[in-house]
């Protein structure tokens, strides 16, 4: 293997990992507060689509990025309301969110881009253009920022009063209530933050890594992020590591496309999913989910 190939794989791993890292961090904060977030995929879609839309309309990728984060947060808030106020089954609500977001984005694409004859090309987020491979420092900066986010989340959960409440909510919301606090509000905020992070991940996917939104572009990354949350044992850095691990396989597939003749490309494409499946099965007995994860209060 040549040195340039290794560098390519590394850069690709970073680029592929970043959206999943953000979504996985979102999954961590949500699940630590006791809400299973199956809707991460939908929140990524919302972020990805909105980011493209706003970048396209305003010409500013930064505004697009912010809009993507907001869109994710709104969807997260919807799931939070469903999970707290209406005590909807969290998995069912997440499925609903996913269908809603993919449908809305598909509709939006037709409405805005196809009907007006524009194919959705937008200005890119500065510094990262994968196709060129010449911005190593850019890719690194993005990764560093993702790590800073993981660090920030870790600090939020373990060092601040609010983080303590989030942890308590995920373990025993009754304890939070008897301390005179509102666990439902804590959960709602956590799920909204979760949506914002997933939206950021989606935005990075559509206007960072690529420069357009296409239906199905999230391709299950929200679900891989969920697997990363479990594999990373519900900790910010664990989830980040797991996201990088899964993305390595995706990068492998891109980098080696057509280079290994005996291995069909479909097998390569299935790799990240298979890796997530194996990881999911392999964590048996070693992890414990937050005790009240998925339990309405």
């Amino acid at each position: 293997m040549t040195q340039s190939l290794i560098v390519t794989i590394l850069i690709l791993t970073i680029v592929k990992a970043v959206p999943i890292i953000y979504a996985a961090l979102g999954g961590v904060i949500s699940e630590r507060s006791g809400v299973i977030n199956i809707g991460l995929e939908g929140m990524m879609v919302a972020g990805a689509f909105t980011a493209v839309l706003v970048s396209y309309v305003t010409g500013s990728p930064i505004l697009g990025l912010i809009a993507g984060v907001i869109a994710g947060a709104v969807i997260g808030w919807v799931l939070g309301i469903a999970a707290t106020k209406f005590k909807v089954d969290q998995i069912v609500a997440g499925i609903g969110i996913n269908l809603l977001c993919t449908g809305a984005a598909a509709y939006g694409v037709v409405l805005v881009f196809v009907q007006t004859g524009v194919n959705g090309q937008v200005p890119q987020l500065g510094g990262v253009n994968v196709a060129l491979f010449d911005l190593h420092s850019g890719a690194l900066a993005v990764l560093v920022f993702a790590f800073v986010c993981a660090l920030g989340l870790s600090w939020l959960i373990y060092k601040t009063p609010w983080g303590l409440r989030v942890q308590a909510c995920g373990e025993n919301p009754l304890a939070v209530k008897s301390a005179g606090l509102d666990p439902l509000q804590t959960r709602l905020i956590a799920v909204t933050i979760s949506g914002a992070l997933a939206g950021l991940g989606g935005a990075f996917l559509s206007i960072g890594e690529l420069n357009s939104y296409t239906d199905g572009m999230t391709a299950g990354r929200g679900f891989i992020a969920l697997a990363a949350v479990i594999f990373g044992r519900w900790t910010p850095f664990g989830a980040t590591g797991a996201a990088i691990f899964f993305s390595f396989f995706e990068a492998l597939e891109y980098a080696l496309q057509g280079q290994i003749s005996w291995l069909p490309s479909d097998a390569m494409q299935a790799l990240p999913y298979v890796a997530a499946l194996v990881a999911l099965a392999g964590v048996i007995g070693k992890v414990r989910a937050p005790a009240a994860d998925g339990v309405p209060f």
Partner: protein, 464 residues
């Protein structure tokens, strides 16, 4: 509290209650399950809003819950400061929080490691954490809901020492409990609740356990069926069984239960009883030998989670656990007529009060639910019955009926292993009493030579 009233759909839980608490007094609130004690204390704490009535309190009210509302995977100090964290900027000032906890514990004469994880602590110490959390708020009124339910006799003594000292410093304390011995030993005044009303206000120095019990039930206690002589034949033999993990494991337990006797296992919760029960039920792995020639009929400890499908009808629940038996499974089909007949039989024998056999069991009272669980276990005249806290949390009438049916099964030749955290229940029913402490059998008494004090000491782990 004046004229407190609270109704839920179908029941009036609290109906026109007046209650005064004075600084420095320990006031016991007693009553049967369902009498309205918990609702009243939740209203006093402000957790539940009353439909009518007024509450006046000088200062704040603290509540120590029966099921501790702690977070097992957080540290002691984190549990105690939750919601009132000392801050340094926007982060928690951990040093200040630890010092706060240590000072608080010292002030109340309690020993605690602020950095321990709550889930690693014994039940008695966990309660200390819960108590400290409330004391941190310096309440003028402290409500304690069944505070000694999970404590060993020795822990109960030290617990009340703390409480008495607290009262001496001017805190008004209300204890909700059903343990009348403790009421007599430690309280100053007693209020008895029945059907949502206070039916008696007593001064502790001028009353007795029997008086309180009569006031609670509204008459004499229903009697338990008489013990008859039986011929005892070998049935269950447990040889050097080790099962479970952590502090609650069973460690080399050997015991025998013969047909025609009730063997009671006394002990404080969490001393290996669950591991033994689960090993007999083949729910967990174990080492050693369990010899039993028939399938055990089991009354599990948690009827909601382990025994019943709450959303199902009485009919469907009547055959749960026996659905694969030849008389009930016909080919691929479940014999619905048989299930209904069994449900009918249980209803008759156990006086299950229900509108119809097709109502969901979640709509029934705890007592009626438990009657179904016990009735189902006894319906096929089993050779061996494992009953784990068979009367926990149910009213006195239902409890007496359940105990009577167990006694009758024994009289008819069944071998019964009774595990109970209520020593009184074991003393009432058992022919032989074993005491478990830290996973081992530490005492063995024939009914004729029972020494209540000695059993209490063994339960707390002190050698004879």
């Amino acid at each position: 509290m004046r004229g407190i009233r609270k109704a839920y759909p179908g029941v009036v839980a609290v109906n026109g209650v007046d209650l005064d608490l004075f600084p420095g007094e320990i006031h016991a609130l007693v009553g049967e399950n369902g009498a309205g004690k918990s609702t009243l204390s939740n209203i006093a704490f402000g957790e539940v809003r009353a439909d009518a009535g007024t509450i006046k309190a000088n200062g704040t009210v603290g509540l120590v819950h029966q099921h501790f509302e702690l977070v097992g995977r957080l540290r002691v100090w984190q549990n105690i400061v939750l919601g009132r964290e000392p801050r340094k900027g926007i982060r928690i000032d951990e040093a200040a929080a630890r010092k706060l906890v240590t000072d608080l514990a010292a002030k109340n004469g309690l020993e605690i490691d602020p950095d321990a994880f709550v889930e690693d602590l014994p039940i008695g110490v966990q309660q200390r954490v819960e108590l400290l959390r409330e004391l941190e708020r310096e309440p003028t009124v402290l409500l304690l809901d069944e505070p000694t339910a999970a404590l060993a006799p020795a822990e109960i003594d030290s617990f009340f020492k703390t409480i008495t000292a607290l009262a001496a410093r001017g805190t008004a304390i209300m204890i909700v409990t059903h343990k009348l011995q403790e009421v007599i030993a430690y309280s100053h005044r007693i209020s008895v609740m029945r059907h949502g009303e206070i039916v008696a206000k007593l001064d502790t120095y001028s009353t007795s356990v029997d008086d309180i019990a009569r006031a609670m039930v509204g008459g004499e206690l229903p009697p338990v069926a008489a013990r008859e002589p039986t011929t005892m034949t070998p049935c269950l033999r447990i040889d050097n069984v080790t099962a479970g993990s952590g502090g609650a494991r069973a460690d080399g337990v050997t015991l025998e239960v013969r047909g025609g006797e009730i063997v009671g296992i006394a002990g404080v919760e969490g001393n290996g009883q669950t591991a033994i029960a689960d090993a007999i039920a083949k729910m967990i792995d174990y080492t050693g030998n369990i010899v039993l020639d028939s399938r055990p009929a089991i009354v599990p400890q948690d009827r909601h989670r382990e025994a019943l499908v709450l959303s199902w009808s009485i009919v469907d629940n009547a055959v749960l656990g026996r659905q694969h038996d030849p008389g009930i499974q016909k080919g691929l089909l479940l014999d619905g007529a048989r299930a209904r007949a069994d449900a009918e039989a249980i209803k008759e024998r156990f006086d299950v009060r229900c509108a119809s056999l097709d109502v969901a069991v979640k709509t029934l009272s705890g007592g009626n639910q438990q009657k179904i669980v016990v009735g189902r276990a006894l319906i096929d005249d089993p050779k061996f019955v494992l009953a784990y806290n068979p009367t926990r949390g149910i009213d006195v009438g239902a409890a007496a009926l359940v105990q009577s049916r167990l006694m009758q099964a024994r009289n008819a030749g069944a071998a019964i292993l009774l595990i109970s955290f209520e020593l009184d229940e074991i003393l009432t029913l058992a022919d032989r009493i074993l005491v478990m402490y830290r996973g081992k059998v530490v005492g063995n008494f024939e009914r004729a030579q029972v020494d209540r004090g000695e059993i209490g000491r063994l339960m707390a782990g002190s050698a004879a």
